[in-house]
Amino acid sequence: MATAEGQQHPIGVYLWIWGLLFVLSLFSYLVDYFHLEGMLRWSLILLFMMLKAGFIVAIFMHMKWERLALIYAILLPPVLVMVFVALMVLESDYTHWARETYFVFGA
């Protein structure tokens, strides 16, 4: 709702965020570099990814300066859809893995 200052956010903000994005990417890279494994690896990578996506949507796509309701209306459904899709992908991969491991196909 803060439209008054919203129209003229300083260029500095963009630069800051831009820099931050680089730093975050660096972190993701470091996760790889230090061979972090298992849950830790994936949670870190996901965290950095989410942060980056969040910054991009918030700053570069001007979401930060939108109304709260709009933010929810635009962001919530895709997030939910992504959660559902991710869950179902995990599920089918699990079944697939079980079949590959214990059953023999074809032949």
């Binding site: 079980a98 214990y102 023999v104």
Partner: protein
């Protein structure tokens, strides 16, 4: 008056019933005491809240009941932020107290320890059969489409690991005590569920995939297997038996069992006789369990 009393009595009676009930869980015979502990924790938390709410309700009903001719001193208070906040926080704490041990127990439940012995349970309408990995410790691959009267488990005959698999085509299985086992569960027709109350563990068996759980039997004895997922008219009659043996008994039992390789050879010898009797058996069994 009476209403308030009865509400309080419901609370007191429920607690009394809980304390004196002859119906309680079977003595545990596996390593899943953690699950029982979690249940007890949950009982404490929820029981306290249940009793508290009922007492409060009963008290309100008694104290603020309408009395003819007495002007009630009713409060007009739409909301009370701080009270609601505190109640939220309190409830959240209660949830955390219950959830944390629950999640730890689940983590344990799905993480099979290194070196656990594997065996397979195969379910079909309405009977159990079992497969042990044999000397090599690995189960041969299987496929429902390979099931024939000679090969009721559908083991892939081309898989060398399958030849020494021990097949137990009866409802009874023996297990050695104190050794962690990973139970691989497989169904060839519909959903079933391998459930032994004393082990606390259970898991559905799903055609088209393999499911698992693990446990360590901790007490020698005979334990009845129940099917816990509706699987048709014979569901309630689908019973089996797990016998937990000490080591020597177990080895004696194991020595009597036949392997896949042996049964295959035997089957080749008297193919025709076998075929007839298996189909016979399947149909007669259906009749029996349908009753």
């Amino acid at each position: 008056m009476i209403t308030a009393l009865i509400i309080i009595l419901v609370a007191v009676g429920s607690v009394a019933f809980h304390l004196m009930s002859p119906w309680w869980w079977t003595p545990i015979a596996s390593n899943w005491g953690f699950i029982d502990t979690t249940i007890i924790i949950t009982f404490w938390v929820t029981g306290t809240v249940f009793v508290a709410i009922l007492f409060f309700t009963g008290y309100c009903i008694w104290k603020f009941r309408h009395r003819e001719g007495v002007k009630a001193d009713v409060e007009y208070e739409p909301e009370n932020k701080s009270l609601e906040t505190w109640l939220t926080i309190g409830t959240t704490i209660g949830v955390v107290i219950m959830l944390t041990p629950g999640l730890f127990a689940w983590k344990q439940f799905i993480t099979v320890p290194e070196g656990a012995d594997e065996f397979e349970v195969v379910a079909q309408q309405w009977q159990w059969s079992y497969r042990l990995p044999g000397k090599d410790g690995v189960l041969g691959k299987s496929d429902v489409r390979k099931i024939t009267p000679e090969n009721p488990f559908g083991i892939n005959a081309d898989d060398p690991k399958g030849k020494d698999d021990v097949l137990i085509e009866s409802d009874d299985l023996h297990l050695p005590i104190d050794r962690p086992v990973k139970v691989l569960l497989r169904a060839i027709d519909v959903l079933h569920d391998f459930y032994v109350p004393q082990f606390r563990a259970k898991m559905d068996m799903v055609p088209g995939t393999i499911t698992y759980f693990w446990f360590t039997p901790t007490k020698v004895g005979n334990y009845e297997v129940l099917c816990a997922e509706l699987c048709g008219v014979g569901h309630h009659a689908m019973r089996g038996m797990v016998v937990v043996d000490n080591d020597s008994d177990y080895r004696a039992w194991l020595a009597e069992q036949t392997t896949f390789g042996q049964s295959l050879a035997k089957a080749q010898q008297q193919k025709s006789i076998d075929l007839a009797s298996t189909t016979d058996r399947a149909t007669s069994e259906k009749k029996v369990s349908a009753q």
